[in-house]
Structure formats: C-alpha cells, structure tokens
Symmetry: C3
Subunit: 318 residues, 3 copies
C-alpha cells in the first residue's frame, strides 16, 4: 500500500510529543564532520544524544541506550571494530538500530563493511538513492557522498532490500520514500537549501534512531523523522524569504522572491537528486501563510528550534 | 568558608583583562563533537586554542602550553594513551591541567581511566553532579552524558574529592559550586537554554584551563571561568527575549515573555540538574536592564563575543 | 614578476563560475576541529566535499577525486598512514593535492612527517609564515597553530621552497602571497575578524584544492582561492558594521564605527601576523559602499553564501 506523511500531519505532532516526554538516549556513532550538528538536532527534537565510538565501550553502551545510529562516514579501524560490536550488542539486546551507509558503493572497504552490518538486523537502513541501490545490488555509480540518481529510481531496490533484510529502508531525495517491502510511505516537503548544508542527511539518520527509540512501528518512526526534518527545512526556507518552485532560498540582500515563477534562477538549481548528504530535495511550492503545527506546544517548540539550526546555515538578517 | 562570585563582579572583569593580555596557549584534548565550538569559545575569551591529541606529540606539547584540558568524551585507544602521556607531562612540568570526566560512572572503561588520571594531580576536576559523585565514590547513576542529580547534592562529595586529591573540584548545575575542600564558591547565573546546546559544559572545562593558565589561584580561576560562561549565557537569554524565572528562552516569533510569572512553561523545563554537558541551570530572574560589566573594555568585548556564540545556537532574529 | 589579484577582479569571478559549473569532488583529510566548517565552505563555493581519512580507503579515493587536501591538524597514527597513502596516490594519478602543514616547526613529529610529504610533489603548500619558514629551513619559532611572524617576512623562504619543490607556495597573512618561485601574486583584503574564528585558514587550504581541481594554473588557483576568502571576510566585516583601518569589527550593540581613524581600539588589535589558523590579516580600509562583484551571478551567490558562514561567527543582529 502506498501512503503519504507530511510534517503537518497530526500523527507527527503526537510522535514529537512522545519523544519530548521520553527524551530517549540516542547512542550516535557518526562521522566527525557532523557530530556537533547531529547532537544539536537531537537536542532540538528533545532526545538525549551521546557519542560513544570506541571498541571498549560501544557494546556496553548500545545495550542500555534507547537506540543506536551507525553512520559510516569518516571510518577508521577502531570505529569499524566498535561499530560491529555495537550493532551486535543492539541486536542481542533487542534495541532498535539504524544503519546510514554513507558513500557505500563508491568505496570498496566500506561497501564490504556495510554488507556485514546488514546481517546484524538493522531496524532501519537510511541512505540516498545511490547508497540504497548499491546495497540492493544494483549498480548506481555513487560519487563520493552524493547521489547521482533520484530517490524514485531507488524505490524498487529499496523495497527488495527491505524484503530481503526484514527491515525498513528509507531513501532520501526530493521526496523521501520509506518502505518495509510491502508498504511505501512518501514524505514530501523540505527545501533545496538542505542539500547545501553539510550534515542534514546524517542528522536524519539520528532522528530516525530517536523516533525508533519511542515508536514500535519502525516504518512510522522513519517516516515521522523524515517529515520532521522536511518541515523544519521547509519552514527555514519560508523564514529566509525563498519560495516558489525552481527558486533557491534567496539572500536577504536580494529581497524575498515573491512572485517568481518557474524558477528564475534555474541555472543555480543543483543537479536533481544530488546532495551533500544524500538528502536532495527539489524546490517546491510552499504556502504563503506561516506554517503551523496541527497541535502541541511541544511540537511547535521542536519545530522552531530545529528550524533555527537550519537557519543558522542559511541566510541571516543583515 | 562560603562565598559567591557573579559574572558582574569586578574581579572577573580584571581576570578577563589579564587573560586577553596574555593570550595563553591552551592545549585541548577534547571530544570531536565540541572541538570547533570549544576553539571558538577560547578565541572569544582571548586565549589561543590548539588541539593536539596523538600519542607522539601530546607530552611534548603539554610541556610548553599554558594549560592542558583532558576531556574524556569520544575516547579512543590512541586518545587514551595520548591523554595519559599529556597529563603526566603537565604534572612533571608543573603546568596546570583540567580533567573533565565526561560520562564517568556510566561506562566502566572510562571510569577506570579517570581513576588513574586523578592520580596525576589535576589542578581542577570539572564535571556535572553525577560525574563528580561517581569520582568521589558515591553512587550517582549517571545516564550517558547527562546528570541525574542536582549540583547541590554533589557538594559534599566534591569537597571530599577535592580534599583527597588536593585539587579544586567544580560542579556544574543550576548553581555552579567550586571548592578546594575547605572553601566553597557559588557561581549563580546562566540560562536554561545552555542545557540545550551541545558543548557548553565541555567549553567550560576549556575556559577553566584558560584561566588557570594565567591565575595562580586555581579556586578563583575555576570560579571566574564559570562566572564568565554564566554571564554570557544569561545575556544571550536576555538578548533573545526570554526572561523571568521558570520561563525558557522565547522564540522571537512568539514574542518576548515579559510578565510571565512562576514558569508559564513549566512543562518545558528540563529535568532539574540535567543537561547535555553537565551544565544545567535553572532559569532565574534577570534584570530588565541590559546587563553591564563593572569595568573593562576587554571584558565587554569578551562578553559580547561569547554571547554571540551562544546566540548562534539560540533564537535568531527572523 | 610581481602582480596582485583582488577578489573583485573579473578573473576571480570567472574562476568561481567554472568551479560552480564543474562541482569538483574535493577529498579532504583535515582536522576534527574544522571538518564541518570546511565542508560548508566548500559547499558554499560550489564544490563537493568528501572526508575520507582511513588507511584502507584514502589511496582509492584520492585516485578518483578532483583534488586532495592534506591538513596536518589533529594527527593520529591512522591519519598519518592514510595521508601518506593518499598523497602517493594523488601523485601517481596526477591529481592536484594541497599540503597544509599546521603547526609544523612547533612539534617534531609532524615536522618530520611534513618533510616526507613534500617529497610527494604537492601541487600547493599553504601555510602561515611560521610554517612556511619552518618548511623552508629557516627558524621561525611557531607557537602552536599561530604564526609569530608576518607573511612578508616569509616571502623569501616561500620562493626558495617553491623553487626547491617545483610547486606553488601560498603564505597567509595580512596580505597573502602566492609564489611559484619565479612569480609572486599578492592577494590583499580580508578582515581582522578572520583571525578570531577557528578554521578560516584551514578552509583556505580546502578552497585552494577546489580551485586546483578546475584550474590548470596552480599559481592562479591558489591566488583565486585566497581572493575569494579575502572577499568573503571583507564583506562580512562591512555587513557587520566594522570599518576603518585599525578598527575591529564592531558589535552591533556599540553601533558601527563610522569615522574612526587610525584605530580607535588599537589595544584590541591582535598581534601582527598572528592568527588561529595562520590567516592573520591586519585591518584595512574598506570602501563605504557595499562591495560588488565585477560580474557573474554565480560569483555573487558564492560570495554572499560564503559571507554568511563567516557572519555566523561574527556579530549578529541583536
């Protein structure tokens, strides 16, 4: 069955409220580029991040954390060893864990590591189209950390991979797709500027872990995390003055882009489907009214907080 | 004897002036999550940060730096080895050094490492209540990097630990306590938003090292560092529109929270004593006037610079 | 021959346009303090950053990336091994690579490593005056990561080093100098605030790699990168209200420093030639008009984007 989940769906607001109330401890094994950003995104959403990456402690910590994130960026020998131990421990202790196979397919060493890790029953695999297609066995020709194909093209591979592994697979792109092999949830929204800030895709992996720590339904957890991030990015776009399909977020200096139609700056549009962290989104129309959450002070708070983080890396008031 | 030191105390302004004049080289061995933030906080205060973390260089560098920070976050085998070498070198060369025992008590490997490091005569041990109580031998049940008890409850343990080790112990919380086992200095101030930004507690460890590099009195150095950070956070809160006990920093969108009494958002208040980096502060009343330093252009400059850093991660103007 | 290249030179705008069009993949082996900032600067300029630092993958990745950056900050055993492998691979595959010898001269281990790496034919060596003079064999007495001499003093050493190695050497300072041993290009501009933000010098190394990936003339590539960064910093200074030689960027609170002559805050001026990341610039006069690019929407876009990054760490609107 195919359905959609938008960030302004009531169920998302409820899930955010649950997360805020339970403040799950999220064990992050992630790359050095995005570690600080990831911690702040988790704090903004209401989770409690902790980065423990060494081989002596990772298994012990994975056994007690609410969920585990294993992100393959900036691998090292010790991280490799520690990640295997942590994933095994999470599996043994029935803790949800998320695999983010950064740049798998482009580099042989981590491709082999990812193949082993998927054998440890990840709850969710989150990647861009190239990474997911590579894991699924299709040749997708990734280029470093960017995807060279759109998320739609990876959907068949994602479904097959989810069925094979018995897990949920989330593919980031202009539209995010989340599937368990049978059902598919589409998550629309976001903003093209999200592809121009490092760590947005990696932070999504951490958000998926946070929601998986408090929601039993992994398909919904992954979709809710994608929706929250899409909403935060979209609102950041609105607040910084950009709107309209085909139009990048405008710099404050050049004024808001009201009334632009069909992409006045088409030449500036990044390659479709490409993105620093596998989280490319095509610009899309956004409502002229300020966006609103369906309910919940907790949700509103989260939303504006997350938005602020993104705003920091997008245009500032002069 | 019990006394208090506020960020608007004249002695703090003088200490900041001294630090700015001498620009001490601070050797930071800290975790990857907060390394960039820590460097920027040290630059803002007027110190010269340098991160040297490998086993080949750490002892050589600790012998020449003005002070050393050893922060146990994101440990690795090589960091472990390098930290022992650096702490030994600092001790041998009579350089002040600060131990920040992140998550000690919650994880057995680093708890054992911390027990060894305290034998190398740290000048200051800085932690949250859980960490300090764990080092002091009390059972405090830390949860990852957050403290589960208030700073007041750790004061007896902190005093005992300081007496045993012959060093200064600083406990972060809604009120910071700094003690050498005989005297206790209370440092009030700060803002609850400081618990929602990653790295604030870790940056405090670096600030303590910076002040210890230029002040012979370690008790005062640690208290001055705490006061500077409390002042920066408090002012960031004022500038971003939040005020009043029990009220979180307000988002610009929702307008400033003038007139709120007794915590209109009580449900949003984080667990007392908890905080991402062991630096929890309960919200407190702040004066309606813009805060001012008692003296010193250097201090003013520092203050606004530090504030800006925090402002970056707290609400921005729309 | 001696010439100059300013950020508002038409050739710089054209080079930025080329870079944006080709989006080169830049393999960054850099330190943990600045990894996130570096990735965002590269994204802002239009390049595609990827951090790959382990010994298993670095040679494979260096063979396919558009250019390689080797920055010696936060060295470790595995990074050491991986950097040697990557530099050898880049050399073998005729890929441009940039060496940023952070703190060389101050620490013996990395000084020895840098001496070996320069034997692998770097395309560009980029450092501050102390680092370049150390590599050139002169005694320059570096102090941690800061330079203690001005860039002018290192020019003779830089030229000799460039001639010896058959590469381009770029020295950062109040004025940047770029030389291939025969010709010298001066790059003026920038702002003193650039010395108060961590990672600015390190990001310059990454920008040099990005331009070297798309420009065959390494002398021009290094000069264009310096010019782009100088322009971004200068404009950030203008936007944040500081102007006038000898005057630091002003905090918004204290109002813009119009009319200040000869450095009303001389006491606040950092040591000449010093700077966190080897990128010190003396304050200089800037035109009262908003700066403008000679041509090119792409360039303008880059510029404001890069400026925003710097603005994040410099004064914010209240």
């Amino acid at each position: 069955m195919r359905s959609a989940l938008s960030w302004n769906d009531h169920r998302v607001a409820v899930a955010v409220g649950t997360l805020r109330e339970r403040t799950p401890l999220v064990h992050c094994m992630t790359n050095v580029v995005v570690a600080g950003f990831t911690a702040n995104v988790l704090l903004a959403v209401g989770a409690s991040p902790a980065m423990v990456e060494n081989a002596q402690e990772s298994a012990e910590f994975a056994a007690v954390a609410g969920a585990l994130l294993v992100n393959l960026g900036t691998l090292s020998r010790e991280r490799d060893e520690a990640m295997r131990a942590a994933a095994s421990s999470a599996h043994a202790h029935a803790r949800p864990w998320v695999l983010d196979p950064v740049a798998v397919g482009a580099l042989s060493y981590r491709t082999a590591l990812a193949s082993e890790l998927v054998g440890l029953s990840p709850t969710v695999v989150r990647g861009n189209a190239s990474e997911v297609m590579s894991l699924a066995g299709a040749s997708a020709g990734g280029r470093g950390v960017d995807s060279t194909v759109g998320s739609e093209e990876a959907l068949a591979g994602a479904s097959a991979l989810a069925g094979d592994l018995g897990c949920v697979v989330a593919v980031s792109g202009a539209v995010d797709y989340v599937t368990d092999g049978a059902d598919v949830v589409e998550v629309p929204g976001g903003d093209v500027m999200m592809t121009r800030v490092t760590g947005v895709g990696c932070a999504l992996g951490a958000l998926v872990a946070a929601f998986a720590a408090v929601e039993d339904d992994a398909l919904f957890a992954a979709a809710a995390a994608s929706a929250v991030l899409a909403g935060a990015g979209e609102r950041a776009g609105v607040r910084t003055g950009g709107r309209g399909r085909g139009t990048e977020i405008q710099d404050r200096e050049s004024g808001p882009a009201f009334g632009t139609e069909g992409g006045g700056r088409g030449a500036q549009t990044p390659r479709a489907g490409a993105g620093r962290d596998g989280l490319a989104r095509r610009p899309r129309s956004v409502a002229p009214e300020p966006v609103r959450w369906a309910s919940g002070e907790g949700a509103r708070q989260l939303f504006s907080t997350t938005t602020r983080r993104l705003t920091v890396s997008t245009p500032l008031a002069p």
